[in-house]
Amino acid sequence: MSVIKEQTTRKIAPGDLLREVEALNAGGYRIVQIGCTGMDDVYEINYTFDKDYELVNLRLTVAPDVEIPSISGVYWGAFVYENELHDLFGITVTDINIDFKGTFYRTAEKYPLSITRSGGDDPCQNV
């Protein structure tokens, strides 16, 4: 007897991101997370929002060298996820409200989950 609601995913272009996010904000949606998946040669970035347990997901598919606009001007708390995108994946996010410039996650290795990083799957070395 589940009341779990459907999840919808919409693919959008980076240029449409802010407009779509502003529309969700105006519609009363709460930000749940921003997550990244490294595919073969692109990143799939999921912006996830919730309203009354209904989950809406905006999906960007971008090459590693593409810059992404920050949504922290719309959702202030997005800075944690956007700094994570940068620090773990090496993705450039422009105009983050609190930009740690690579020091939010103090990992021993820079951009440990980047699809373009050298070193493959060698174990992380603490230095």
Binding site: S2, R30, N46, N57, F104
Partner: protein, 359 residues
């Protein structure tokens, strides 16, 4: 205007069992800004999903955090089961619910003890942890493990609980509830505690929602959001209504957790009474091909496991958003206006779990 100074809080601090760093910008002893940083112990467990077969990853998922270990496993398993279209037996859903609520009791009592310790109320700290031991005893008796239980699996659960044990658990809940209410009475009504917590670290309903907060941090500000209301596991049959406080301060967040002790006991009691007969697992065949955002209400709030299967025995991606990460922006908003001496209390009030955050 007083001179501004920056005082580092953490990564090692007596109230923090795990490392997080916050630069506190102070004017005299008043906090005017706070800048957090994490990642000291980031483990990259999400990447292991590409190296472990999907049934094995349950063991990794439950090691993301020692406190909500069972619920990480549950969230992961529910996600895989959704992708594969697997219906688990009713009895396993009830058992999952019981172990989830014992995990919540264990977590909240742990937090209440740490919170009391942070306030310097040592007797209350010891009493909270004394009660927590009783919860861990039940975990050990029913799963064999106090913390890492390894009972959840894709397709159901590994262990059953016999009727004799269920009856004993049900009987013990009566005295346990009475003791929890005595404990809660101190947290909610003691003048010292109220003086220390009321009006401290306030975050409004609108702010908590807009910042994407989760769990007691969100509900303590008046937002009735609790994934258990969606009816996963056996919550649909048992019914659940979110515990909400409206003041948005440290006292309100504490009150939510105290009242959730009582609601957890109530759910366990009703789950035992309504426990269906039947098998506890189903055979799962094939490999996951598809994606799903699985959500479960952990003690600190909603956890999200994004799972992407590609039709092989290894998933292509697991991305885990833990509630502490979602509550960091709220913490940044709570701290300005607090005195330096109150910072540990405000930080503790979101119940930070760095182990989860550094998955």
């Amino acid at each position: 205007m007083p001179e501004r100074i920056v005082v580092p809080f953490g990564p090692q601090h007596p109230v923090l069992p795990e490392p997080i760093h916050i630069d506190l910008v102070l004017e005299d002893e008043l906090v005017v800004d706070a800048v957090p940083s994490i990642g000291y112990i980031h483990r990259g467990l999400e990447q292991l999903v590409q190296k472990r077969e999907y049934p094995e990853y349950v063991y990794v998922a439950e090691r993301i955090c020692g406190i909500c270990s069972f619920m990480h496993a549950l969230c992961y398993c529910q996600g895989i089961e959704h992708i594969m279209g697997t219906e688990v037996p009713d009895r396993s859903r009830y058992l999952r619910t019981i172990w989830s609520e014992y995990s919540r009791l264990h977590s909240h009592l742990l937090w209440l003890g740490l919170f009391a310790d942070g306030m310097g109320f040592e007797n209350l700290f010891m009493r909270s942890w004394q009660l927590r031991e009783r919860v861990l005893d039940v975990s050990e008796d029913t799963t064999g493990g106090r913390i890492i239980q390894s009972t959840c699996k894709v397709g159901g659960v590994r262990r059953d609980i016999g009727q004799e044990m269920l009856d004993k658990m049900h009987r013990d809940l009566d005295i346990f509830e009475e003791e929890c209410r005595d404990l809660g009475n101190v947290f909610l009504n003691d003048e010292t505690v109220k003086y220390r917590l009321k009006g401290l670290g306030v975050i409004s309903k609108e702010e908590a929602y807009a910042l994407g907060s989760a769990g007691p941090t969100l509900r303590g500000s008046g937002v009735a959001s609790d994934q258990r209301e969606t009816g996963y596991a056996a919550y649909g049959e048992l019914g659940y209504k979110a515990v909400v406080e409206t003041a948005g301060d440290c006292y309100a967040r504490c009150a939510v957790r105290v009242r959730e002790l009582y609601s957890s006991i109530d759910i366990i009691r009703r789950a035992i009474e309504g426990m269906p007969e039947g098998p506890i697992d189903v055979k799962v065949r094939g490999t996951p091909d598809g994606e799903y955002f699985s959500r479960v209400e952990q003690p600190r709030g909603e956890v999200v496991h994004y799972l992407l299967g590609n039709g092989t025995k290894h998933l292509a991606r697991a991305r885990i958003r833990t509630p502490t990460l979602a509550n960091v922006p709220a913490l940044v908003k709570m701290l300005p206006g607090a005195q330096l001496a109150d910072v540990p209390i405000v930080v503790l009030s979101i119940d930070p779990c760095i182990s989860c955050t550094e998955r």
